[in-house]
C-alpha cells in the first residue's frame, strides 16, 4: 500500500519499521476472515485490515482520536491475521507501534487510567498478585456465581524432582502462573526429569513483561525483560541449554526480547542470545526421545486441545502439541474453528469484558462439542479463562504427560466449578 509518513517519522527506526510493515500490506482483506473481532462485529474498523488503515492514517498525520483508540483496544493481539496473511505482514509489531502512538495522542478518562494502572502494578508482580488472589479465594464462597466462576479455586503445590541432571534448562519465573496453578511448573520439571533434564529456577527473574508492554507501558515491559536476562545469564554462561517456557504467552514475548532490545547497547547481544534459546516446552519435547514418558490417562482420556493464539499464531507452532499428545496415545477430539481466540488475551478479559465473554462462550461450545474428558491448553491465561465457563477440567497439556498425575483425579476437581448460567450463545 502507498504510504505518506512524514520524513521526520520515517527517519526513526520505529517509523521505518512501521512503514515497511504498512507497505507489505496489499489490502486483500484475507485476514478479516479469521479475525475474531471482525467475526463478532462485522465492522472493517474491527478487522486487521481496518486497524492497519487506522494506524496508517494516524502515522501519516491525520486526526486520530478516541475512535482509533477504541478499535485498537478491541484488538486481541491474537495475531490470527498474521497466520492468514499471504503477504507476511507483521501485524503484531505494527499494533504495538500503533498503540504506543495513540497512547501519546489520546488521554484516557480517569477511571480507565486507574484501571489500567492497577493492572500494571498488580498482575506482573507475583507477590502482589498472590495477595489479591488469596483474598479473592477466601471471599469466593460469598460472592455471586458470576464473580465466583472467574476466581480459580486454590491449588496445592506439588513437589519438584530432587535429582540433578547434567542437562539443564531454565524456567521462567513468571507472574500469575505460580499463584494460580503451581502444579504446571512442577509437572514440567517432572516430565523433563523423566527425559534426563533438570529444570532450573533462576533467582531474580519474574514476569516476562508482555502484560505491561502490550498495555501501553512499553518501558516497564522492557525493564522486566532486562531483569529476566540478568537472572538467566549466569546459568546460560554455565551451560544451560535452553529456556523452556510453559506459558505460550510469555514464550512469544521472550522470543521477541532480541528484537525489542536491539537498540539497547548493554542488552542487545544478550537479549538476542536469550531469544534464540527460548523454546516452548512443546518444542523441547518434540526434539527428545519421549519413550520414557508413560502418562496416566492414556486410553481413557479424550482431550480437546485449545491452542493458545500465542502458541499457534505468535510462535507459529500450530499442530505441534497435538502431535505430541497423539503420539503419547491420547485421543484428540475435533475442535471447530480452532484458530480462534478464547478471549483471555492478557488483560483483555478485564478490559473488554463483553467481547471477551462472547468469544469465551463460542470457544467453550467448540471445545465441548467433541465431548472430551479434559481440555488441554498451553497458557495459564487461557486455562483460567476457559475453566471459568466449563465443568470439563482444563489443564496445561504438560500436566497430562506428568507421570505423577491422573486425569481422573483432575476431573473431580473440575466438577467443582459451578455453572448456573447455561453455556449457550
Amino acid at each position: 500500500m502507498q504510504t505518506t509518513l512524514s520524513d521526520s517519522l520515517r527517519s526513526t527506526p520505529l517509523g521505518q519499521e512501521a512503514d515497511s510493515i504498512l507497505r507489505a500490506c496489499v489490502h486483500c482483506g484475507f485476514c478479516a476472515a479469521t479475525c475474531p473481532t471482525y467475526g463478532l462485529l462485522g465492522d472493517e474498523l474491527d478487522s486487521p485490515r481496518g486497524r492497519i488503515y487506522l494506524i496508517k492514517q494516524m502515522l501519516e498525520g491525520a486526526t486520530a482520536g478516541q475512535n482509533t483508540q477504541l478499535h485498537l483496544d478491541r484488538c486481541l493481539a491474537c495475531r490470527a491475521c498474521e497466520t492468514t496473511c499471504p503477504s507476511g505482514v507483521r501485524y503484531g509489531r505494527l499494533l504495538d507501534i500503533g498503540r504506543a502512538a495513540i497512547e501519546q495522542r489520546v488521554r484516557r478518562p480517569l477511571p480507565e487510567q486507574i484501571k489500567r494502572h492497577l493492572l500494571r502494578v498488580v498482575i506482573p508482580y507475583e507477590r502482589r498478585f498472590t495477595v489479591v488472589l488469596r483474598v479473592a479465594q477466601t471471599l469466593r464462597a460469598f460472592l455471586p456465581p458470576t464473580w465466583r466462576r472467574s476466581i480459580p479455586p486454590p491449588q496445592l503445590p506439588t513437589s519438584w524432582p530432587r535429582s540433578s541432571h547434567e542437562r539443564k534448562m531454565l524456567a521462567l519465573a513468571g507472574c500469575v502462573q505460580t499463584p494460580i496453578a503451581p502444579n504446571i511448573d512442577a509437572a514440567t520439571a517432572r516430565v523433563l526429569d523423566c527425559l534426563g533434564i533438570s529444570l532450573v529456577r533462576a533467582s531474580g527473574g519474574g514476569c516476562c513483561g508482555a502484560l505491561s508492554y502490550h498495555l501501553g507501558a512499553q518501558e516497564d515491559g522492557l525493564e522486566f525483560a532486562r531483569r529476566n536476562i540478568d537472572a538467566w545469564w549466569p546459568h546460560v554462561e554455565s551451560g544451560a541449554e535452553a529456556i523452556a517456557i510453559n506459558a505460550s504467552g510469555c514464550g512469544v514475548m521472550v522470543k521477541e526480547y532480541g528484537h525489542l532490545l536491539r537498540e539497547d547497547p548493554s542488552y542487545a547481544e544478550r537479549a538476542d542470545r536469550i531469544s534464540a534459546m527460548a523454546m516452548d516446552i512443546s518444542e523441547v519435547l518434540a526434539k527428545e526421545n519421549r519413550a520414557a514418558l508413560a502418562p496416566a490417562g492414556i486410553g481413557t482420556a479424550r482431550i480437546a486441545f485449545h491452542s493458545p493464539c500465542s502458541l499457534q499464531h505468535g510462535q507459529k507452532l500450530a499442530g505441534l502439541v497435538e502431535s505430541i499428545l497423539e503420539s503419547a496415545g491420547f485421543e484428540l477430539t475435533p475442535v471447530p474453528d480452532g484458530h480462534l481466540c478464547c478471549g483471555s488475551a492478557g488483560s483483555y478479559s478485564l478490559l473488554q469484558p463483553e467481547l471477551s465473554r462472547q468469544l469465551l462462550l463460542q470457544r467453550v461450545l467448540a471445545l465441548e462439542s467433541g465431548q472430551p474428558t479434559a481440555i488441554g491448553t498451553a497458557n495459564i491465561g487461557c486455562l483460567a479463562h476457559l475453566q471459568s465457563r466449563t465443568s470439563v477440567p482444563v489443564r496445561h497439556w504438560i500436566e497430562l504427560l506428568d507421570p505423577g498425575a491422573s486425569v481422573v483425579s483432575l476431573r473431580d476437581e473440575g466438577a467443582q466449578v459451578e455453572l448456573t448460567e447455561p453455556t449457550t450463545l
Binding site: A24, V26, A32, D43, A62
Partner: protein, 511 residues
C-alpha cells in the same frame, strides 16, 4: 438518460481517481441525513467521522480511494430498506459493499453518498440437504458455506481465490469465478434464488425452486450487476455432492509458452479438468514463501490440473494428463501425495496474489480473457510489454478458461509508477480485445475498467445497458459511475487513445 452529470468532489490529491459521475444533486443537508439514518439504525451502525470513514475509502484495489460521506452498517433487512428509502428520498447515492475484496473498485465509495456495508449479514439461514441448497445472507463468506455443509458431503462449487474472505453477495454482484468454474460454472450457474431491495425499498425475489422459471431470466440479470440494480439481501445457492475422488497433477515447465500450449492440448483432448491453473516463476516463488507447498521454485511456469469424479475415471485422466504434459515438454509432473498436499497446492495458488506482496510493495491485478488458443502468444507479448515498460509482471491465472490475471508489480510510493502501471494495464487489456477476448473475466468492471468498456462495446450497446439501469434505478443512485461508462466518458477516453490513426467513437460529440 437526460440527467445532469456532476462529479463527486474531494478526490484525495496524488491518487489517480476516476471521477465518479453522479446523476443527482448534492445532499441538501448532511446533518439532516445523519439524523434520519440515526433514527433507523442502531447507535454504532452509522459512521460519520473522517477517522472512521478512512478505512472504508477503498476495496481490494487500494490505488483508488474516495472518502464516503457516511458508512451504514445495518444488520436487518428492515434497516437496509430504511437506509435505501432515506437516501432515495434525498437523492443520495448508495454504494453497497460486501467484504471489500473486489479488485475493480466496485465498492469504491462516492464522496456524497452512503457506503452500505452488508458485512453484518453473516448468517446461514437454512441448509436443505435433500434439495442441495442453502439459503444465506449476503455477507456470508464464500468458504463458510462449503465449511458449513461439508459434514453433509456437499460443497458450493464457485471458489474465487479470495473465497476465505469475499462475501457471497459480492460474488453474485460480480458473477465471481474461481478454480472450479471451468467444470462447474460461474456464480450465475450455481445460484437458484435471490432477494434484493431496489433503491426505492421494494423487496423483489427472483429465480425460484424450479430449475427453469417462465419469463425473463432476472436472476442472470442481477448476477454481475455490480450493485447497480439493487442491494442483494438473501441468496439461495446450489450445492454439489463432493466428488468420490479429487486429485491434482502439478507439472513444471522451463518455458511459459510451453505451459500455455499444454493448456490448449488438455482442453483439445476433450478433458474437462475441475481446475486448470497456471503460475509463472514470480508467482511460484511468492506463493512458496507463504505456504511451503514444495512448488518447484526454479520452474518458469507450473500448471495445476485438478481432476475429480469417480475413482476409475480420475485415475484414467491422471494418466492422460501426465502424458500430455510430457509431450508438451514438462520438466516434471506428479500428483499430490495425499489430501494434505493437495490442499497445500491449492492454498498456494489461492494465496498467490497477496503473496506477491512479498516481492513488491504494490501490485495491480489485471483480469482479461482470451481464447485459449492464443494463450502462448499473449503471454509472450505480455512479457515483451513488461520489459518495454520496465515493470515486472507476475502471471497467475485460470488457464483452463483463458482468464488471465497479469499482476503488474510496482511501488506506489515512487512518483509516476502507478501511472506507468495503468498504461501497461490498459495495453494488456487492449491486447486481450485484439485477439478476440474480453476486458473482464471475473473481477467486474467497477471503476477500474470503465474506460475499456468503451472499447469492448459499441455506443448503442452501452445505451441499452443504461436503459436497463434506468428501469431499476431511474435516478441513478445505486453505485453511480461504475460498470457502465457514460457516452461522454467514452468520447473523452477515445480522444486520449487514438488507435492506428482512428479515433474510437468518431460519431460522438466531444466536449
Amino acid at each position: 438518460m437526460g440527467a445532469i452529470m456532476i462529479y463527486c468532489p474531494n478526490s484525495p490529491p496524488g491518487k489517480t481517481i476516476m471521477k465518479t459521475p453522479v446523476t443527482n444533486v448534492q445532499p441538501r443537508n448532511r446533518r439532516e441525513l445523519i439524523a434520519a439514518l440515526q433514527r433507523v439504525l442502531p447507535s454504532q451502525a452509522l459512521l460519520s467521522e473522517t477517522e472512521d470513514l478512512r478505512p472504508y475509502e477503498c476495496d481490494g484495489l487500494s490505488a483508488y480511494c474516495e472518502l464516503p460521506m457516511l458508512v451504514a452498517l445495518p444488520d436487518t433487512v428492515e434497516q437496509v430498506r430504511a437506509v435505501l428509502v432515506a437516501c432515495h428520498e434525498r437523492g443520495v447515492p448508495v454504494v453497497a459493499r460486501g467484504a471489500g475484496t473486489g479488485l475493480s473498485g466496485g465498492a469504491l465509495p462516492c464522496s456524497n453518498g452512503v457506503l452500505l456495508s452488508l458485512a453484518k449479514f453473516n448468517r446461514i439461514l437454512e441448509i436443505d440437504a435433500a434439495n442441495r441448497t442453502a439459503r444465506v445472507q449476503p455477507g456470508v463468506r464464500n468458504l463458510a458455506i462449503s465449511q458449513a455443509v461439508a459434514h453433509l458431503g456437499l460443497y458450493y462449487a464457485p471458489d474465487p481465490s479470495s473465497q476465505i474472505a469475499c462475501s457471497i453477495g459480492g460474488n453474485v454482484a460480480e458473477n465471481a469465478g474461481g478454480v472450479h468454474c471451468l467444470k462447474y460454472g460461474l456464480t450465475v450457474h450455481n445460484i437458484q434464488m435471490l432477494s434484493f431491495l431496489t433503491i426505492e425499498g421494494e423487496l423483489i425475489t427472483v429465480g425460484g425452486a424450479a430449475l427453469d422459471a417462465p419469463g425473463y431470466d432476472l436472476l442472470a440479470f442481477m448476477t454481475g450487476s455490480e450493485g447497480l440494480l439493487g442491494v442483494i439481501v438473501e441468496i439461495t445457492v446450489k450445492l454439489l455432492p463432493q466428488p468420490e475422488r479429487a486429485q491434482v497433477v502439478l507439472a513444471a515447465f522451463d518455458d511459459v509458452e510451453k505451459a500455455g500450449a499444454a493448456v490448449a492440448a488438455i482442453i483439445g483432448a476433450g478433458i474437462v479438468p475441475a481446475g486448470l491453473e497456471m503460475m509463472d516463476n514470480l508467482a511460484i516463488r511468492a506463493a512458496e514463501q507463504f505456504v511451503h507447498a514444495g512448488y518447484p521454485v526454479d520452474a518458469e511456469a507450473i500448471l495445476l490440473c485438478e481432476l475429480d469424479g469417480v475413482n476409475e475415471e480420475v485415475s484414467e485422466q491422471i494418466l492422460q494428463v501426465r502424458e500430455i504434459f510430457q509431450q508438451c515438454g514438462a520438466t516434471e509432473s506428479h500428483t499430490a501425495r495425499d489430501e494434505r498436499e493437495r490442499a497445500l497446492f491449492w492454498a498456494g495458488r489461492k494465496a498467490a496474489f497477496p503473496a506477491v506482496g512479498r516481492l513488491a510493495p504494490d501490485y495491480y491485478c489485471m483480469d482479461g480473457t482470451i481464447p485459449r488458443k492464443h494463450l502462448a502468444r499473449v503471454l509472450r507479448r505480455i512479457g515483451e510489454m513488461s520489459a518495454e515498460a520496465g515493470l515486472a509482471v507476475a502471471n497467475v491465472f485460470h488457464a483452463g478458461d483463458g482468464n488471465l490475471h497479469p499482476l503488474i508489480l510496482y511501488d506506489a510510493n515512487k512518483p509516476g509508477d502507478l501511472e506507468r502501471t495503468e498504461r501497461l494495464g490498459a495495453k494488456i487489456l487492449e491486447l486481450c480485445v485484439a485477439v478476440g477476448g474480453t476486458i473482464t473475466g471475473e473481477h467486474g468492471v467497477g471503476v477500474e475498467k470503465i474506460n475499456q468498456m468503451c472499447i469492448q462495446f459499441s455506443a448503442s450497446a452501452l445505451a441499452q445497458f443504461h436503459a436497463l439501469k434506468h428501469a431499476f434505478d431511474p435516478r441513478g443512485l445505486l453505485n453511480p459511475g461504475k460498470a457502465v461508462p457514460t457516452l461522454q466518458r467514452c468520447a473523452e477516453y477515445g480522444a486520449m487513445h487514438v488507435h492506428g490513426g482512428k479515433v474510437l467513437f468518431p460519431d460522438l460529440e466531444r466536449f
